[in-house]
Symmetry: C2
Subunit: 234 residues, 2 copies
DNA sequence: CGACTGATTGACTGCCCTCAAATAGGGTGG
DNA sequence: CCACCCTATTTGAGGGCAGTCAATCAGTCG
């Protein structure tokens, strides 16, 4: 094992995936990683392609979705620092990616190729368990999204997605929680048409619960939006 | 290891979970199992409860769903022979069930308690991998359901669910594929109101593509229903 | 035969999507 | 600095899918 890993993690970096591993195991995993820059519109993985690498965002943001044959995008979740993807690589030798993930912001990722994954699995017995924890989280999240789609109105789904996105990609600014989201991105992620998203945001802005700029939303407080979805689901 | 396991598997029993295990491992797993009868309306597990056992249907059928706070049921999948559940028990020591599963038909299940799971994990390294395979399948299925809910019409969702149910719980009869489903069950599983389900079924019956009895649907051919959902998703 | 559960049909309603058209922000090149 | 363009955003009008409600019919079982 190397003395120091070549990868540079930003301060405050936390990972659900690493929570399932012991400190020396994390060391070993990090030592086997290669770092790589990513850029907007770059595909990190495509659904159906052979799974050839596991990876993890370090900085930046990507969107995980599945493509509909009609051309639509079924948004599944944000890929943010600490999330683990391409887990199919580690689970099953000849596997394929389940979803497409596309970068939306510049940043960097850690990458493990197939040989690295294989040797890591042999050295770290708890790696499978860590994968399980992460996948269980993903499953839980998708079930939650399905419930939202089924039981909540467009307004509730928008409020829910603002809360979810705030937790994942929100920055605390002077006027509240800032989200780098266009109306269209919010619409896609909340499974709502662009026009209903725009209309609802206008309403909320006139209520003073949020403030809009071009490509940016500032939430005055989370609690207002958390309250909205509390009926019918969760 | 025992000479013969006490459990009696029906002929033709296949399990996605066991596919991830070697023959001797399957032996060991079966030997550690206890068999138990189940009855309609019995709860096999409740979401949020501590996960105290892993289990697998042998005969009969159950429904996996999540409860909405409004009282609605978010159907997730049928639990049929060979499926594995309560996997949280094996993944993480103090875990909780993610979903509720309720029996809808009389039958029997295999059960593994926590001590059994722990000793099995120690003896079978590939057990974690088998869990991964199954959970990945569940994830894939839920994503598919989310896509259906988002991109398909009520008619398409009904057709899709008839196909899905046919594969899981269909029996091949004289007049076609027989499904033991009430209109209400189909409506819930397809995320459609009872009335639209009834109406669509009436239409299809008058077209001759299916035949209805009380609590039972007979599909003349699957291809008709497979064709319906082919646009917009999958 | 009566009770209960499942199935059916019609009328009405409403949420939210589609489409069209106009407005505004932000960066670029002249 | 200003004209220009491209994209993001806004607003209104109209329509349709499918859900809700109410009432009736039909099959099964005791």
């Amino acid at each position: 094992m190397e003395t120091a890993s070549a990868v540079a993690l930003p301060p405050g970096f936390r990972s659900r995936f690493f929570e399932g591993l012991s400190a020396p195991e994390i060391e070993a995993v990090l030592a086997a990683a290669r770092q790589e820059r990513i850029f907007p519109h770059q595909f990190l993985q495509r659904e159906g392609d052979p799974a050839t690498r596991m990876w993890m965002p370090v900085t930046g943001r990507a969107a995980a979705y599945r493509l509909a044959s009609g051309g639509g995008k079924l948004f599944l979740r944000w890929a943010v620092p600490g999330d683990a993807f391409g887990l199919a690589t580690i689970v099953k030798a000849p596997a394929r990616y389940l979803v497409t993930i596309e970068a939306v912001q510049e940043g960097s990722i850690l990458v493990w190729d197939i040989p690295s994954c294989e040797s890591l699995v042999l050295r770290c017995p708890s790696l499978s368990k860590a994968v399980n924890l992460v996948v269980a989280d993903y499953l839980n999240g998708v079930i939650d999204a399905l419930g939202a789609r089924s039981f909540q109105t467009a307004e509730q789904r928008l409020a829910r997605m603002l809360v979810v996105s705030a937790r994942q990609i929100g920055r605390t600014g002077r006027e509240g929680i800032e989200l780098d989201l266009t109306n269209e991105q919010l619409a896609v992620t909340a499974q709502v048409s662009l026009f209903t998203a725009t209309r609802k945001l206008s309403t909320w802005q006139s209520l003073g619960t949020l403030k809009k700029h071009r490509g940016k939303i500032v939430l005055r407080s989370l609690s207002f939006f958390e309250r909205i979805g509390k009926d019918t689901w969760r």
